[in-house]
């Protein structure tokens, strides 16, 4: 309990530092915010007009497909809010600053993963949460669906954390982060549409091996009452296994860190 309190205090301090650093960049903040909202609108138009052309996707109607898209935006923004520090990790390693993090009496992975929040995405997350609640209400979900949706969103955050751990671990070994994280973002973008629209074996690969489907499609399906109990249980197991494997890989990578840049 004492340890948890310590980490909450450290996390609070890190957030405060990020906030104070970003408050000096109001114009940049505004440009990024406009960019992110524009991307949301344009990708949304793509989803909408694709549906106009195809009428329905894998049996889902327009309301349902838009809800899948909004869930994707919410989960993507949540990942940015919590794990934005990963994007600057390469610089930390190549400049030797990683040594300073290693020498601090705080868990290194905690510091690397949660060391820098994206405050722009704090704003967009609130916006996307609002749109998810508003649009989700059109689907008339029951209480069980809403609870499962919330739990599965949390489960998605665990999967995102695992992916980010894999990226930083690979970064230690190869000094490559920028493209690896963008590959993750590209693959994640497949979840704008429900994974069910893809043919086999793509559907299974992106459900169980690279669990984008579990991360982005299953929560929305649970809200709609379309996810089976078996799929929900498997979703929690997959996230647990992925997190375990990513932490193991992080340990493996850390042992190979040579501190060559410092």
């Amino acid at each position: 309990m004492k340890k948890l309190k310590k980490y909450l205090v450290v996390w609070g301090l890190m957030i405060r530092n990020v906030l104070s650093a970003n408050l000096n960049k109001k114009v940049g903040f505004l440009i990024f915010f406009i960019g992110k909202m524009l991307r949301f609108v344009l990708a949304g138009l793509f989803v909408f007009y694709t549906l106009q052309g195809t009428k329905s996707l894998a049996g889902y109607d327009t309301d349902q497909v838009i809800f899948f898209y909004l869930t994707y935006m919410l989960i993507d923004a949540l990942g940015q809010v919590f794990f934005r520090n990963v994007y600057s990790f390469r610089q930390i390693v190549v400049t030797g600053s990683f040594d300073l993090i290693l020498s601090k009496p705080v868990n290194t992975l905690f510091r690397v993963l949660l060391g820098g929040m994206d405050i722009i995405d704090m704003g967009t997350t609130i916006f996307f949460l609002g749109t998810v609640v508003w649009w989700g209400a059109r689907l008339s979900p029951n209480s069980a669906g809403i609870i499962l949706y919330s739990l599965l969103i949390f489960n998605s955050l665990i999967i995102i954390a695992a992916f980010h751990i894999l990226v930083v671990a690979l970064g230690i070994i190869t000094l490559e982060i920028d493209h690896t994280i963008m590959i993750y973002r590209d693959i994640e973008s497949m979840g704008r549409f429900p994974i069910d629209i893809y043919k086999e074996p793509i559907k299974s690969i992106f459900t169980f091996i690279i669990p984008i489907g579990i991360m982005l499609t299953v929560p929305a399906k649970a809200l709609m009452g379309l996810a089976t109990a078996q799929v929900i249980v498997v979703s929690f197991i997959v996230s647990g296994v992925l997190l375990f494997l990513s932490i193991k890989f992080w340990g493996f990578a850390l042992k190979r860190y040579t501190s060559a840049s410092s």
Binding site: V27, G28, F32, F46, T50, T54, T174, H179, D186, I187
Partner: protein
């Protein structure tokens, strides 16, 4: 003087050309400094094609289906053509200009006997050369792996037209990127933010890089026709696919040349103003 327009040492033309060829060569070799980084950049491009391929392949599973004026062969050709043209048009080293302005590194370059515009154009060409080689190999391997039905254009005018529009797109993107980077003269902290908005979002979507612009209503497509972005990727591919006819090609040519001329003058004007504002901070 910072405000000198061209910092070129007067030498004979072949010496000048040699100088920029050397810059091109050095820049080409620099791309291999972080090999894994480059490999991952190409892996990313391949994954983007996989994602786009499987998405459109699913939507067009029925071979007789026609959506937005595309049949299965044409939409999959669009995906592959975008991969190839993107590597020629959008790969550029000039993305580093904003960083050079904000950290004062620009001063080093201004003192050298090179023309700043030609220097970056040479570096851009080296990046394009390297990327196009890899894109060619990747396109070929992906074709063998995925075996998509590809639309082969046999009309000479469309083939020549597509090549001409790609060459124009290279110039167009160069000026667009240059202008975007020069934001750093006035907002050194926000050079990256400007690139994110103009290049990462606006150019990416409105060039047709994410999806074909035909999916939008006709009114929106008319507006896109007067903006520069669709001439970077979408229009050259449409010319190749034969989706635009003679008059439309001529109109497109006039619009894109008009944009290149306008952006050229805008670039030089902003550059001169930017240099007056430049204080070489960080040096």
């Amino acid at each position: 003087m910072w405000s000198e327009r061209f910092l070129v040492v007067k030498k004979n033309p072949s010496m000048k050309l040699q100088k920029y060829l050397m810059i091109l060569k050095i820049s080409f070799l620099q791309e291999f400094a972080y090999r894994f980084n480059f490999v991952m950049w190409r892996v990313r491009n391949v994954i983007q094609v996989f994602i786009a391929f499987y998405f459109w392949d699913t939507l067009f599973a029925d071979p007789g289906k026609v959506i937005f004026g595309y049949d299965r062969a044409k939409i999959l050709t669009y995906v592959f053509a975008i991969l190839f043209i993107r590597s020629i048009v959008l790969s550029a080293r000039a993305v580093d200009i904003a960083g050079q302005i904000s950290n004062g590194e620009l001063s080093n370059l201004l003192l050298k006997p090179v023309n700043f515009f030609k220097y970056w154009f040479a570096r851009d060409l080296s990046s394009k050369a390297l990327n196009v080689v890899f894109a060619f190999i990747e396109t070929f391997l992906l074709y063998l792996l995925l075996r998509p039905p590809i639309f082969l254009q046999t009309t000479l005018i469309n083939l020549i037209g597509a090549i001409v529009f790609v060459l124009l797109a290279i110039l167009l993107f160069y000026f667009l990127l240059f202008i975007t980077n020069m934001v750093a003269f006035w907002m050194p902290e926000n050079g990256w933010a400007a690139q994110f908005l103009i290049i990462g979002i606006v150019t990416e979507f409105f060039s047709g890089g994410v999806f074909p612009l035909n999916i939008f209503p006709e009114g929106a497509q008319v507006v896109f026709g007067y903006l520069p972005f669709q001439y970077l990727l979408y229009f050259p591919v449409q010319v190749y696919l034969g989706n635009v006819a003679g008059a439309e090609i001529t109109r497109g040519f006039v619009v894109v040349v008009g944009w290149i001329v306008a952006l050229y003058f805008l670039t030089t004007k902003i550059w001169l103003r930017g240099l007056k504002n430049y204080a070489s901070e960080g040096r």
